[in-house]
């Protein structure tokens, strides 16, 4: 597999690089570390007043890539490239297309809480316009949040909808690549009752408990049609908020969470839904966002 890391010479860039290295090692794939430099005006400005600044950016990009080289173990087959583009997202997309990469690895906003993923401008642009799997490194992954051992398990967030079946199949293929068991996870967020009515104070618990039963029944039915050799299991998170619900189930230190997309389209783009956004933000492990496969 070929991984493209969107690298910047700061803590979030290092998070993405650490995850990219880990994934490349696990799959014995190839790594491309790409630093995108802002496009200057020198091509159109007659005075070429931006040339110095352009040179400065190129030097900085080279320094950043030199730093990255120090982090990547020597046994990994890696390429280091710097590109200019109008935006980082545009540059990464173009590079991914040209080099036919299989997965992109990026990090989120520098602002945020350790372990969580706050989508920044680049992540937003990529997640909403890309047709590639995107691995998301949580904040602080390069420090004490990184994988401490080979991947132990792959989790896949499903909603139980019809679209979840395609995602489950894709997740099974990824689990085969990583040679790890697959766990399906889904999350119940218990709403506050709208107001006391004759339906009682806990009417919403009744609804969620029914949903849990529905999910378990659908999972039992789905396992009968599961064709992959990858061992599977189901776990349901439960809480009053997304954060509480996601953290209510156990997570391995070396685990990857697969999140699907919510909308299909002829361009098979990644389009993040409201629930997927919450899961991506609060998940306790790195996330892998898969675009919807064409049926």
């Amino acid at each position: 597999m070929k991984f493209l890391v969107g690298y910047s010479n700061d803590s979030s860039g290092k998070d993405a690089l650490k995850l990219g290295v880990a994934l490349t090692e696990m799959t014995q794939g190839k790594l491309i570390v790409c630093h995108i430099v802002a496009k200057t005006w020198h091509n159109i400005a007659l005075a070429k007043f931006d040339e110095d600044y352009d040179q400065f950016l190129c030097d900085e990009a080279q320094k950043a890539l030199d730093d990255a080289k120090l982090t990547v173990p020597s046994h990994i087959e890696a390429r280091y490239i710097a590109r200019t583009a109008l935006s980082i997202g545009e540059g990464l997309k173009q590079t991914a297309k040209e080099l036919s990469v299989d997965c992109m690895v990026i990090s989120g906003s520098r602002i945020g809480i350790k372990g969580q993923f706050f989508s920044g401008t680049v992540a937003d642009e990529l997640l909403n316009q890309l047709s590639l799997p995107v691995a998301l490194a949580p904040k602080g992954f390069s420090q004490n949040q990184g994988f401490t051992s080979p991947l132990m398990r792959l989790s896949c967030a499903v909603s139980g909808s019809d679209q979840s079946c395609n995602l489950a199949v894709s997740a099974g293929e990824w689990a085969e690549v990583f040679k790890v068991p697959l766990r399906f996870v889904t999350f119940a967020v218990r709403d506050r009752d709208i107001t006391p009515t004759a339906a009682g104070f806990d009417a919403e618990n009744m609804v969620i408990n029914e949903w849990r039963e529905q999910i378990e029944a659908e999972y039992a039915q789905a396992t009968r049609h599961w064709e992959s050799d990858v061992p599977i299991s189901l776990e349901i998170g439960d809480g009053s908020t997304w954060k509480e619900s996601i953290q209510s189930i156990d997570w391995h230190v070396s685990e990857l969470l697969i999140v699907g997309t919510t909308m299909s389209g002829i361009f098979k783009q990644v389009l993040i839904g409201k629930n997927a956004e919450k899961i991506i933000r609060y998940a306790c492990v790195p996330r892998l966002v898969l675009p919807r496969s064409t049926d």
Binding site: V189, I194, D202
Partner: protein, 500 residues
């Protein structure tokens, strides 16, 4: 008589009617992931819940219907209806305190009085909630029209604002001035969409709307009080006690929501003290609000002008001030807050049907939960379609009376249940016991029956048709699909001789 069942375990007709849902099933259904969530509501919080859930239902529209019936003595009708609601709420509180879980009066009746009574209570609740949602939506359309007129200077066409059906004696027939009450039907669908999005959003919006509702009523009281003329209150009771009791029966629906306080048995601190106190305090606050609104409205406007008045409170303010802005504020407040009332009532309706469906007493589609929003979308949509048809085509006065009928029957059954259970299960633990037993439950039953007797003739016809449909559905379908039927051996084992 044996009505069927499996060959191995035949279930008799009387067993079906009397079988009770095991309490542990009720507890499991409402627990959060295997753990019980304790809310520990204080007396103040519970009182405010009660006020928020009760106040507003109908006060915006009821005067134009009931002042012509009772005259200024409608004030006494409010007190009569309020006292009846209070008595039944206390009985309801005892029933709910026998079950260590939060639920509806349907689920409490199922666990204590048996499937037959529970189904009857549920049928009444469906009538109460479904019809009152439609009735409230019709009142909303009046205020919307008033608001549009005051802001833009145009009226919505009459054929879009009233039902084509009219009531006369025992009959409903086509002959109204309108084609459909379109705003009312649209409101029901707007609420449906909000409920389908997820309840957290709805709960937040609802809390704001309750505040708006209270502010609007305070605004009305403050302005209308400045134009108070005591001469408008005479004659005080032009139609005597018959008028007062007839109005009290119809007004009873304005106290829907008070019963919700009674479901808080497991959630409240020191329920033996706080539950009755919260019911009484909430009732007191609501009655005071209603009486102040009615009194100031009656003092500000001659009683003859109430008849047929649409968006009455807004019109009164406009007459008093000679300016449109107070009417605009009041109409806008009413449009927003009545939206919340419709939302809450529709919510209650869907959750009661959900509970019934889980028990096998309503079609399965009612407990199908959407995986996307974690809400029962199909249930909500079906309820919205039916309620919007009622709101669009049936006149409001019939609906108010039907709502009262459903509520009063359900409450009377609960009060009878309290009496029965005191004799049948005297030692069962109760978090709260009705004081002055057996006088209070008997008084509650009598008050309910008295108010039922004052309702209009057409309501009896519709209620009888509804009862016949419900009974047919129960005997032909629901009783055989009941989860207690499917697992009768397991349930018999758990309940032992409780079935008898």
């Amino acid at each position: 008589m044996d009505t069927g069942g499996s060959m191995k375990n035949p279930v008799t007709f009387s067993q079906r009617l009397l079988r009770r849902k095991p309490v542990n099933f009720l507890v499991q259904e409402t627990q959060q992931g295997g753990k019980t969530l304790k809310r520990s509501l204080t007396l103040f919080q519970l009182t405010m819940f009660g006020v928020g859930a009760t106040i507003g239902t109908g006060i915006f529209f009821v005067l134009s219907e009931q002042v012509p019936v009772a005259g200024p003595a409608v004030l006494i009708s409010f007190i009569l209806a309020g006292i009846t609601a209070g008595l039944t709420a206390l009985c309801y509180a005892e029933l709910s305190s026998m079950i260590p879980a939060s639920g509806s009066s349907y689920s409490y009746a199922y666990a204590t009085l048996g499937e037959g009574v529970a189904f009857l209570v549920a049928a009444c609740l469906i009538l109460e909630y479904g019809v009152s949602a439609a009735a409230v939506a019709i009142g909303w359309s009046e205020y919307l029209n008033n608001l549009i007129h005051n802001v833009f200077g145009v009226h919505l066409p009459d054929w879009l604002l009233s039902a084509p059906v009219v009531a006369d004696g025992y009959k409903l027939y086509l002959g109204g001035t309108g084609l459909i009450n379109l705003p009312a039907a649209i409101l029901v669908f707007l609420c449906c969409m909000l409920l389908m999005r997820g309840v957290t959003e709805s709960a937040r919006i609802n809390a704001v709307m309750v505040l708006i509702k209270l502010c609007v009523l305070i605004l009305f009281i403050s302005i209308a009080a400045t134009a108070f003329n005591a001469e408008h209150l005479t004659p005080f009771s032009p139609h005597g006690f018959a008028g007062i009791s007839a109005a009290a029966g119809s007004i009873f629906f304005t106290f829907i929501g008070l019963d919700a306080v009674s479901t808080a048995g497991e959630e409240v601190e020191n329920p033996r003290r706080n539950l009755p106190l919260a019911i009484i305090c909430a009732l007191f606050v609501v009655i005071i609000f209603y009486i102040l609104v009615a009194l100031t409205a009656l003092g500000a406007q001659e009683q003859g002008l109430f008849k047929g008045q649409q968006a009455g409170l807004a019109v009164i303010l406009q007459e008093i001030t000679g300016s449109t802005w107070p009417a605009i504020i009041l109409a806008a407040g009413a449009v927003i807050s009545v939206f919340s009332i419709t939302l809450v009532v529709l919510y209650g309706q869907t959750r009661i049907l959900f509970a019934m469906s889980r028990d096998g007493l309503a079609p399965k589609i009612f407990h199908r939960v959407s995986t996307k929003t974690l809400t029962p979308n199909a249930n909500t949509l079906i309820v919205a379609v039916i309620v919007s048809i009622i709101a669009g085509f049936i006149p409001a006065d019939v609906l108010w009376d039907l709502t009262s009928m459903g509520t009063l029957i359900a409450f009377a059954v609960v009060s009878i249940g309290v009496l029965v259970l005191r004799y049948r299960m005297p030692d069962a633990p109760r978090g709260f016991k009705v004081p002055l037993f057996p006088a209070l439950p008997i008084l509650s039953i009598c008050a309910c029956l008295y108010l039922i007797s004052s309702l209009s003739a057409i309501v009896y016809v519709i209620a009888a048709i509804w009862a016949a449909i419900a009974a047919a559905y129960y005997f032909l379908c629901a009783s055989k699909n009941s989860v207690l039927e499917a697992g009768s051996e397991a349930y018999s084992h758990q309940n032992g001789d409780d079935h008898q």
